[in-house]
């Protein structure tokens, strides 16, 4: 009887390991239970292509998307200790703002190619080189073939490639196009919590995982990057986290 139950337990554990896909890749957790548990592998896969697009064509959502990717790159850079390559055809990034999301200027190398085809070639070369800890690229036109190539080289080099997909027009949805990306995010800016004093609270974003491989999609509201690039879950009223013990601004009722 006892032997049978241990046998059963053993086979159950074996079955469970077969049923639950084992992640044999390195992941970068968000340190947020609500996101990590719903991502396959328990976090963002490091050797993969991840796409993010703004929810609307407003500059605000674009800025939230930029800082979302910057936070991921900052945490990966802090873990592995290499430079981050930021490739963009535009130059309206403001480095002091990125520094406040954890991406120190000493850790970022910027590249400004002339067009999207040169940009894709540059980031592929950089990932193949293996030097950067993460690559962030802002691109407007990325074909399915290009994303597949990027996904392959990223998996090969175990370096996250974070692609900020820009809209080509007001009605254009970049996430509507086919892509080989591991995860695809849609980020929007959300109203922050009103404080009982004058001032703006910690920024909040509406983060929507539109698609992921071997997983389901979800959406939630998170609080924006702190100075280490970490996101946070908004403290619900009456269920305040330990943060409410800090400054009075979060203790608004």
């Amino acid at each position: 009887m006892f032997a049978a139950s241990t046998n059963l337990q053993h086979s159950l554990a074996q079955l469970r390991t077969i049923a639950v896909p084992v992640a044999d890749y390195r992941v970068l957790p968000f340190e947020i239970q609500g996101i990590d548990s719903r991502l396959s592998g328990g976090g963002l896969r490091t050797g993969a292509l991840h796409e993010a697009a703004a929810h609307s064509c407003s500059v605000v959502d674009d800025a939230a998307t930029t800082l979302f990717l910057a936070g991921i790159a900052a945490r990966e850079s802090a873990r592995t200790g290499g430079p981050v390559l930021w490739a963009s055809c535009r130059n309206d990034l403001y480095a002091p703002g990125l520094e406040q999301a954890g991406l120190l200027s000493a850790n970022v190398i910027y590249a400004q190619p002339l067009d999207d085809s040169a940009l894709l070639a540059v980031i592929e070369d950089a990932v193949r080189d293996g030097t950067p800890s993460a690559v962030i690229a802002e691109a407007r036109q990325v074909s399915m073939v290009a994303t597949r190539r990027l996904q392959l080289v990223a998996a090969d080099a175990d370096i996250p490639v974070l692609l900020l997909r820009r809209r080509r027009g007001r009605e254009h949805d970049p996430l509507g196009e086919p892509s080989a990306a591991w995860t695809r995010w849609r980020i929007a800016s959300a109203p922050s919590q009103r404080l009982n004093v004058a001032g703006v609270g910690r920024p909040r974003w509406s983060v929507e995982l539109a698609r992921q491989r071997s997983g389901t999609s979800f959406s939630m509201i998170v609080e924006g990057c702190d100075e280490t690039g970490c996101l946070a879950v908004p403290a619900a009223l009456g269920h305040r986290t330990a943060e409410t013990a800090g400054p009075a601004r979060y203790a608004a009722a």
Partner: protein, 572 residues
């Protein structure tokens, strides 16, 4: 109880001055120097001082001129002495004009004259006896063409070692430097030319520099151009050469005489003339010179060879023309070169691969690195990016790999790697890879500048050196290059964030705001910024957008700004 009033201290007035001439109670002192009627006039004093010998003159401070700094007690009046001696030297230099005399044909002529001699009427080509008769104390020295050539050759060798791998002397008075692929080492073409001129000035030469597409054009512009430093933009050779005289084309005397006879004054006169008749009149050599200057005929520079430059060479059994074969040869050459560099303790900054085609043409590709390196895989990756620029034609039969610019590279300490087993990530490798694809200017870092004005706080810097950070003021993630005006703003003066505004045709209702953060204009930059003030606010609208807006002016003083509102950036 009323407090007693303090009694003013009153000193007893003593009419007897005693040792001091001033009465104790103060006041007017009889016999003061300013009250004397027979006081000497200031002009008299100055004339008396001027009459004194130099060592006896009172210092400026004693004369009551406060603007003059006090002389250090241990320092003599050396500066005045020095200034005099420099002046005297310069005068002595100008007083002794110099001319070189050489034998031209059967008579002795002036072959070179310095500027001061030229101002005295000595011109090149004048008979030596004539010049001696004109200026009696002229410093004549015999010309030494061999010594000149040796000096020029020495300069060319120096150029090969310091500036560019391909440099050659063009006797009697010029140098050709091929800047292709190495101007980035000197900060660009213009900066290089300025440094070159500064170097020549220090060495005591008067230099004229020209940069052009072809050696012939640079030769002409340097000698006959207007400015001492000319950079002809790529593709503008014809415009630059047009106004120059035909002597700029390095024609022989027969062709020059013929050209004068037929009325060809400038290069522009030659261009519209048909080739055949022109060749019959000026000779075929003149046509070749014209084509060389305009780029129609190649004119390779035979470089001054330096035995110190690491060179490796492979001669192939059969000519090759496929990319895979070229890549293989590149790998072999790099392995050879790495051994040479390692033996000498050097790392390459510039590599130059020359392929000799079977039709005699040369295919040259060059790569640069941001740090000295001799790592074969890294250099091979950089060279492979250039394979598509090699035109093999019917095949390439010989490859030469040169490291014209090298820097010392010693063994690197690997202790930390063994302890932590972490991958050492060298940003210089990444920079080389990206710069090889899109150019060195498109790779950069952003470094802080000590300025509170947001758009001035960031500057592009060298991609290899790690910059510092910024102060922790709240800053947006995207900053507009030019602030955009806001319309119909409702805000309380002087220090409240706006409640509503219109921007890009949309109305924004503001529900929260932080601020103001006041930033003053930098008066040391522009006069217009002396009183300028910007009050920055971070505001959030009802839909969750967070913006960085500012108002010109502090709300009190009209000089500080016109109270207009602007959008400057977007927070996440």
């Amino acid at each position: 109880m009323p407090r007693p009033r303090p009694v003013a201290l009153q000193l007893p007035v003593d009419d007897n001055p005693g040792a001091c001439s001033v009465p104790r109670g103060g006041g007017w002192r009889p016999g003061a120097r300013w009250a004397r009627t027979d006081a000497p006039e200031s002009t008299d004093v100055e004339s008396q001082i001027a009459a004194l010998p130099a060592h006896a003159k009172p210092p400026m401070r004693e004369l009551g001129r406060r603007s003059e700094a006090a002389v250090h007690p241990y320092r003599g009046d050396a500066p005045a002495h020095q200034a005099m001696s420099v002046e005297a030297t310069v005068a002595a230099f100008h007083a002794s004009p110099l001319a070189l005399i050489g034998k031209v044909g059967r008579r002795e002529e002036v072959v070179a004259a310095c500027a001061s001699a030229a101002s005295l009427g000595i011109v090149v080509g004048m008979a030596a006896t004539h010049a001696r008769a004109l200026v009696s104390d002229l410093d004549f020295r015999p010309a030494e063409p061999e010594a000149d050539a040796a000096l020029l050759d020495h300069l060319a060798l120096r150029a090969v070692r310091r500036w560019t791998p391909i440099a050659a002397a063009t006797p009697p008075d010029g140098l050709w430097l091929d800047l292709t692929g190495c101007e980035h080492l000197h900060g660009g073409e213009e900066r290089f030319c300025q440094r070159l001129r500064a170097f020549c000035q220090r060495a005591g030469f008067t230099a004229r520099v020209a940069v052009a597409d072809t050696p012939g054009a640079a030769h002409a512009v340097a000698r006959f151009g207007r400015a001492a430093l000319t950079i002809v933009p790529s593709g503008r050779t014809v415009e630059a050469l047009g106004p120059l005289p035909i002597a700029a084309l390095r024609l022989n005397s027969v062709a020059l005489t013929a050209g004068r006879k037929f009325g060809f004054e400038t290069v522009a006169d030659l261009l519209p003339v048909a080739r055949g008749p022109l060749a019959r009149r000026l000779g075929l050599a003149a046509i070749t010179r014209l084509d060389q200057a305009l780029g129609g005929v190649a004119e390779p520079i035979t470089p001054r060879e330096d035995a110190e430059v690491p060179v490796v060479e492979r001669r192939l059994l059969e000519p090759i023309c496929t990319a895979e074969a070229i890549e293989r040869v590149m790998g072999d050459l790099l392995a050879d070169l790495a051994e040479v560099l390692q033996a000498r303790g050097l790392g390459a900054r510039v590599l130059r691969l020359v392929g000799l085609r079977i039709d005699g043409g040369e295919q040259v590709v060059a790569v640069g690195t941001s740090r000295p390196t001799r790592e074969v895989s890294h250099l091979l990756r950089l060279l492979k990016l250039r394979i598509d620029r090699i035109d093999p034609g019917l095949g390439i039969e010989q490859f030469t790999l040169v490291a014209p610019h090298t820097e010392p590279l010693d063994a690197i300490d690997l202790g930390a790697v063994l302890a932590d087993e972490t991958l050492v990530r060298d940003p210089a490798r990444l920079v080389d890879v990206v710069a090889g694809r899109i150019g060195a200017r498109a790779v950069y870092r952003l470094a802080p500048v000590e300025s509170h004005v947001p758009e001035r706080a960031v500057i592009r810097s060298d991609p290899v050196d790690a910059p510092g950070g910024w102060p922790e003021w709240v800053r947006p993630v995207r900053l507009f290059a030019r602030p955009e005006p806001l319309a119909r703003v409702i805000a309380l003066l002087p220090d409240q964030p706006p409640r509503r505004f219109e921007w890009r045709g949309t109305t924004y209702m503001i529900v929260a705001g932080d601020g103001p953060e006041r930033i003053h204009g930098e008066w040391w930059r522009r006069d217009a910024e002396v009183w300028a003030v910007r009050d920055y606010y971070r505001v959030e609208d009802d839909k969750g957008g967070r913006y960085w807006v500012f108002r010109r002016g502090d709300g009190f003083e009209s000089e500080t700004g016109d109270l207009s509102w602007w959008m400057h950036g977007v927070f996440a």
